[in-house]
Symmetry: C2
Subunit: 421 residues, 2 copies
Amino acid sequence: MAILQSFIEVHPDSHFPIQNLPYGIFKPQPTSSPRPGVAIGDFVLDLSEISSAGLFNGPLLNNSDSFQQPNLNKFVSLGKPAWKEARATLQKLLSSTEPTLRDNAVLRQKALVPLSQVELLLPVAVGDYTDFFSSLHHTKNCGLIFRGPQTPVLENWYHLPVAYHGRASSVVVSGTDIVRPRGQAHPAGNPSPYFGPTLKLDFELEMATIVGPGNELGKPVDVNNAEDHIFGLVLLNDWSARDIQAWEYVPLGPFLGKNFATSISPWIVTLDALEPFACEAPKQDPAPLPYLAEKVSKNYDLSLEVHIKPVDHKDSSVVTRSNLKHLYWTLTQQLAHHTINGCNLRPGDVLGTGTISGPEPEARGCLLELTWNGQNSLSLNGLDRKFLEDGDEVILTGYSKGDGYTIGFGTCSGKIVPAAP
Amino acid sequence: MAILQSFIEVHPDSHFPIQNLPYGIFKPQPTSSPRPGVAIGDFVLDLSEISSAGLFNGPLLNNSDSFQQPNLNKFVSLGKPAWKEARATLQKLLSSTEPTLRDNAVLRQKALVPLSQVELLLPVAVGDYTDFFSSLHHTKNCGLIFRGPQTPVLENWYHLPVAYHGRASSVVVSGTDIVRPRGQAHPAGNPSPYFGPTLKLDFELEMATIVGPGNELGKPVDVNNAEDHIFGLVLLNDWSARDIQAWEYVPLGPFLGKNFATSISPWIVTLDALEPFACEAPKQDPAPLPYLAEKVSKNYDLSLEVHIKPVDHKDSSVVTRSNLKHLYWTLTQQLAHHTINGCNLRPGDVLGTGTISGPEPEARGCLLELTWNGQNSLSLNGLDRKFLEDGDEVILTGYSKGDGYTIGFGTCSGKIVPAAP
């Protein structure tokens, strides 16, 4: 079968071929209202225009106003049949053999906006943001750093996907500057805590599930149906102030060391687009309790990279190369565990995976691990880094290579600006 | 000066005299749209009707649609001058000497609805819910139970108001049934964890700040201005499954042991109404860092009680008598600390105080403390209780006695229903 192609030219390295069609929210002009779009090559297809033109003509979407909204919450709440209908409609509309849009210059002019011109916004209104801790390599490294070699991985970790609640209000879209947080720290040896800008500012390389249909309070989601509740994934940078975190986190977990900002990519890549890259998840030993036992245990083979670009440098340096396939607890196990006590998820909720580290030292997903809590330095084109400096830009990216095309997330970036005076 | 009186008869023990005027959201009929109201005696005054009648005629509210909303978020976002204007307008309108409403039978008929007839809803749309850990007595008891007498209070606790993020989606209004959560537990001595309904279901007696105007990301709130960001308080029950919590909480804090439900009272009592009961907060030693040092360190002398009513019992038993004045970290310190790293608060956010225990054994704010983690039993009219049983109804209440009147919160209740099969 010939590969599906669009009438819009897409470079083979572009993250946004017709096989991808990730969803986002954008403004075509600074004064426009926010609206849904999908990325295709170097363009955004304006779904509010496609919808107004009556081109979503399948049974589930033909009378829906879900593409006339300032966020994707309504669309993601509709569930898998509507997502499949939208994907089929858009793949047909954008294909090289379909004249409807291709040969309609007026509609093309209205509906296809160069990516370089648009402002990208948060794709969803985030009701709740949860962050898991699902990479064994990350967990082990953190345990070695903070507790030493005796019990680097705590006993509960192998039995359940450990998680905590993060802050929804400070989830920001890629490109938002990150103000260096101030707070209390108490380094070992100091007689008392002090207050000041964090000295250990870090990134965390994560991805996150965007929840589709949620569940009612008191009604858990079965692990074998959990995939139906996942609309897609984003890149996520869980910015962390390690000195603040280390002092505050006992006994109730991270708070101000994390909640000053969390960046996500503007594009949500759907599970349908990622399906060609599905792979088996690592074997779990001990076997999980029945409510976490899956008929199919699925990860995705997705390359992840972190680049850092110091201020005034032309080039960025790659500091990490990891892969989503390293997750020990799957996305579906995370979601099912989250609801097993009756906790309700809502459309647009964000479930971070936790830092995704691989087994190799160069696959570690944060500076805490890469520099072993500042004991070593990384070299960025000759510049030393233990933790992030003001002016550093951190850029996450993720992609899978198909046969002649790339499915990617674009980037998730943020630049460090100095602390409040 | 004679005490302010309403033309509506209010019993001296009623929680809702003209001196209180707490805000809530209600439906006068099952089919009505939700709207703001204030409680007065045995009635709710419908603020959408008062607003439509043009009776909010002060400069800040006369053209506002903040009382035509399904929640109080817009009104609380307006800030202190608007809150004061609303309070002055409503106290005048309801006073015994003012004819406008008193002598207008048609408007009274529309705007005053018997409390017994209305459905009370969540007063705010909760963007984020944070829970602090601000009672020294509670912290010490938990430390003694879980870690023993060596370091019952961890070192950081005296330097900062410890907190964690809770779940916004499962904050429910008083009266909502609480489904017993299921989850993993791993009691000491068991070879491996098991799955099932929690055996250690608990309440936590708390109050919570309802945030008024928030702050921008990156812009902390000064502790001496923090009171301007607090609209008022509610009662809060932080339901907890102690066995689930004990197994899951290291190293990232409570998650499924808490996020299955959090109940709040339908009525938000404003700081203006509580001001007559302001008192000095406990002395803090060591002195807090400058960003937490307050010119005025204020608590409120507010009696708190927890009642439990077993199924088929006519009467409830009081199991705790505590007081808001026992908080070590003040509400304003909590709020300032929350934002010191730049974290943004939004109008309607909920900041729980943590369990409010007093120094006496009978002032302990949860069953974990009252039964010392199930080692002892409480007697409820002859029935033994270590933790909550199916059918138990837990009722929180809180009030302060003024000269001839009571300022109260009504109740915050919830009944335990059996776990999902």
